[in-house]
Amino acid sequence: MGIEGIGARVTRKEDQRFVTGLGRYVDDMVVPGMKYAVFVRSPHAHATIKAIDTASAKAMPGVIGVLTGPELKSDGIGNIICGWMIHSKDGSPMKMGAWSPLATDKVRYVGDAVAIVVAETRGQARDAAEAVAVDYDELPAVTDAQKALEAGAPQIHPEAPNNLIFDWELGDSADAERALAGAAHVTRMRIVNNRLIPNAIEPRAALGHYDKAEDHFTLWTTSQNPHLARLVMSAFYNVAPENKLRVIAPDVGGGFGSKIYIYPEEIVCLWASKRTGVPVKWVADRTESFLCDAHGRDHVTEVSMGFDADNRIVGLKVDTIANLGAYMSLFSSCVPTYLYATLLSGQYEIPHIHCNVRTVYTNTAPVDAYRGAGRPEATYLLERVMETAARELGVSPAELRRKNFIREFPHQTPVIMNYDAGDYEASLEAAMRAADYAGFPARREEAKRRGKLRGIGMSCYIEACGLAPSQAVGSLGAGIGLWESAEVRVNAAGTIEVLTGSHSHGQGHETTFAQVVADRLGVPLDSVSVVHGDTDKVQMGMGTYGSRSGAVGISAIVKALDKVEAKAKKIAAHLLEADEGDIVIENGEVKVAGTDRSLPWLQVALAAYTAHNLPAGMEPGLKETSFYDPTNFTFPAGCYICEVEVDPETGVTEIVQFVAADDFGTIINPLIVEGQVHGGITQGVGQALLEGCVYEPSSGQLVTASYMDYTMPRASDVPSFLVSTTVTPSPSNPLGIKGCGEAGAIGSPPAVINAITDAIGNNDLTMPATPQRVWTALRKH
């Protein structure tokens, strides 16, 4: 691997700027003449807009412009769309309601944008925003998805009768029913997956700049996928054609899914810049982030899993209601369908699976992908059911899982996915060893003597990453392809730039991507720069989400490196008068194998650009591009074991040990991969113990709209983690990478809840397992 190559624990290149305060985030950008925007937002969950009076706001000090929905519409700006078409089981297309970037006639959730105020200072914009008078006619609101489906519920979009967006299914219902009817034991549960608010620590921000001289727009934005933002804003929102719109996502302070989507604010800031003639910057305050960033999860599910007399799973039936909020966000439709139901086989041989999903409009913020996106919901469901079934059947949770593990690959599940490689026994064994599973009863006894209830819980997760083969996702309704692009530019003096369509917002691409190049060409890490996040520099890309940067983004780089290497070898063979097949590249030298004849890398690069002596017919230059389209998803998997101690007097849960054994395939940089797992687990622990979005049901007001109301995991809420990896390389991409970004958040919530329910001896517990809920569950038992 070399000291800087694939597999090396290299410290990150990007850290120097971050630890010295020199990171450059959107709010750090300053453009001459730049002014500040504040949005006027609906204080009501559901209301019609009778009138908007901007006159007094416009007269306030420093105000440059106040703009509203009708003006936006008159300029032809389009509605925000969902980019993944799902058909209901009756064949009808999903019922997408109109979402105007600035509301025109109706507001549908607290925080819905109604107007933008642009002023000289942030303070002046805020003052003026308070002076915009909106005359609302309040309507009854509904925030709960099940209630929204009931007769007589408030109707949110005329396009979606009964608030039902689609009623979709995967698998054969009758087969699954038959399997359950013939089962020796059926475990039935109602599972709630609590609604979460992503909370990247950098709030979303946008700086729109219209350059009149060039008739050209530039947007600096907190995006995980600037190219997709440009494409969607051009093709669907009519902001500007692609050749007149540059989108830059500089340093971005965390995403977790919430910065995938194209939100109203980006569109409106660009448009407002042209309307007002000044560059317009908007930065969300934290309350706006809580109100308006796309939320995650929010499923309610009835599940039945059947076992035969030998404890083998015979069938699974799942009926889910998913809350999509007030509008359909960009990928909202695929999260509770193709990213959820397709993972319901987990790590297990399940012959029959049927999943029905109804998605529902409510008067809440839009819901879309949040770290894991559908896969945490599937995993929580399965792993709570497996643990519960083990308890009901009187067998050990590990044995029940072992008995049902898939052991041969490739494995075709009944729910589309074809698992390419894995070894679930290996990660289970590794986790049980690290956790000293066998020693648990003694630890429980010891805790009991201290007056604490100790419990242990496990979770064996699988996820589908490396999104995704374009043709496959196209056939399932995706409006885009999910390849990735890369360009490897070897400069004349031998240094290298890698241009990638992936985007790093914490993942360390500047280091790991450079490691791949250093590994291949033997050049120093410092001579490789990674360029990303700017549509003027990188031609096209699909961005970073779904743990796709390694499996898809790096694969594109590898493919471009193949071409660079091939051309460099041709040049070297010509210069060294050797056979092309005998040329090898090692340690920064291009050599004739088995001889002492070699050229420094620099000289080959220079030769490509001087072009004085190239093979006949060869074009000068050394720069290659690749668009890599994956052939399959990748399937990271692993086993997590959590141990908790509950204080029976207070209901407070302490996580006393957390073990993760993950199979991510080939790992480029273990330091970074471990960091991803730590962070993911903590987000999962947050969901299990602390985080829960609460809307006041009758008014639709968001109760948890600040860090004083929504409990973020703090350092004292988690222990240090014991993480390790087992490796089965993915056969589906050149380096065997599977992806690691979401595993922690997917695998940890069921492990935590399985541990708490084990400790308290009551299985009836919903997330977040707050002290009050745990205390109550203890006493109900």
């Binding site: 990150r12 620590i201 471990e674 350092a715 983690f721």
Partner: protein, 161 residues
């Protein structure tokens, strides 16, 4: 408007600011010191921590005018002569950061924490002391590791000196 003056990272600066201007906005917008970040509105996240007269302060909770006459150190002023402060170096070495947004506040809090615990820090104390700094990326594991390593290194250096 208020006329203010303060020493920021060893340099004396003067300014005329709106009475309501927060110290963080003075640093970021008037002084161009954008390493200090704003992550919330309620003084919870700690991305804005700077040192005022030697103490860690959330600069979103202090008016610029209140800091007049004070000595302020921001993340930009921590490294000396091109050498990272031991806490900065430890965050880099132990991968105590991912997106980097909470990092300046974390580092400034950590420096203050280590200074207040000259006898050294155990894991429990570090975790409790980080109550006012939120990180969404790292799960704190490597932040805690970095702070303990820096604390050890700094106390070692103090003993040697």
């Amino acid at each position: 408007m208020a006329d203010i003056s303060m020493v920021i990272n060893g340099r004396e600066v003067r300014g005329s600011v709106e009475d309501r201007m927060l110290l963080v906005h003075f640093l970021r917008e008037s002084q161009g010191l954008t390493g200090t970040h704003v992550g919330c509105d309620t003084s919870q996240c700690g991305a804005c921590v700077v040192h005022v007269d030697g103490k860690a302060v959330k600069s979103c909770t202090m008016l610029a005018a209140q800091a007049s006459g004070c000595e302020v150190v921001t993340i930009e002023g921590l490294a000396k002569d091109g050498q990272l402060h031991p806490v900065q170096a430890a965050f880099k070495e132990h991968h105590g950061l991912q997106c980097g947004f909470c990092t300046p506040g974390m580092v400034m809090s950590a420096v203050d924490m280590i200074r207040r615990h000259p006898a050294g820090l155990d894991e429990k104390t570090v975790r409790a002391e980080l109550e006012g700094n939120i990180c969404r990326c790292t799960g704190y594991h490597n932040i805690v590791k970095a702070i303990m390593a820096a604390s050890e290194e700094m106390s070692g250096k103090a003993q040697a000196a």
